[in-house]
Symmetry: C2
Subunit: 151 residues, 2 copies
DNA sequence: GTTAACGTTTACGTAAACGTCAATGTGGGT
DNA sequence: ACCCACATTGACGTTTACGTAAACGTTAAC
């Protein structure tokens, strides 16, 4: 039995509700839920990011597919390109039998975490700046209010 | 005298060194420092993100321009579009004489901070997942190591 | 004096991430 | 029988953020 690590699991579901793991979703359903278009979902499939089952031509999405889609969209919100997201997803689908492969996974995982932490620093700095602005504006408004009354 | 709030100041300089505030920079210098091309910098100017002085046709960048450029690039790293970055930068160049304008700034600033905090949540979740993966891989490697010796 | 390194504008090219038709099929309600 | 909502596959269009090349002008080095 192959060793499995799943970053995209029910526990990490983006849309929180604990759903039926056996449920299947239509493309329109997922599009509505995630506020994207069906075109987008099909595009992601073209790019190899999701591979839903098919009933004839019609796509059927599993709970796993849904979670995966949520994960993709979170990656997008974080500013990753689809290519990067694909790479990250692929990281977990590769065969993990060999120790050398585990080491490689470990290495890439670390690199990615370091990247994420750099982003976090950027983000924190950004937030801090805007919080400073808020404070200064509040102070100025208070001063104006004290001087002129209102507007 | 107009009330001024500057999010992009020396204190928030991206590239850390405390430089001469009177220094001027050539386009190639800035390009090297930030590891981008001159084309990119000119493009940002076309888009109204920076407005360097000119000596004839040649662009001369002040320390402020340089800091501003660093801020733009950090915004990019955070996944903002140039249009969004421009909007944020413009936010601070608008006349701030009126109280109503200060309130507007406060409102937009709050909205932006909320956006940034959502991003932070996404990012934290992402980091946590990959840290979990690291832990699991490490554990698996340890187990394998104990069982098989090495590779 | 010409080669190199820097600067300029104008303009066309491109990759990514979809949007937007068009043409078609399918199943359900009235 | 007809409409509506949903599905499909092309295929071309669009926006963003630059890359790249052409054609040209300075300044410094050899």
């Amino acid at each position: 039995m192959t060793f499995r690590i799943m970053p995209v699991t029910a526990s990490s579901a983006v849309s929180s509700e604990p759903r039926d793991p056996l449920r299947i979703y239509s493309i329109a359903e997922l599009a509505r839920e995630f506020a994207i278009t069906a075109r987008t979902i099909r595009f992601y499939e073209d790019e190899g990011l999701i591979k839903p089952r098919r009933q004839g031509l019609t796509r059927l999405y599993s709970a796993g597919d849904r979670t995966r889609l949520g994960w993709i969209l979170r990656g997008k919100r974080l500013g990753f390109s689809l290519a990067e997201i694909k790479e990250l997803l692929d990281l977990y689908q590769v065969d993990r039998t060999g120790v050398s492969q585990l080491r490689e996974l470990q290495r890439r995982s670390r690199m990615h975490i370091e990247d994420l932490q750099r982003r976090r620093s950027d983000l924190d700095a950004h937030i801090k700046e805007f919080e400073d602005v808020e404070i200064q504006v509040a102070a100025e408004l208070k001063k104006r209010g004290a001087e002129t009354g209102n507007d």
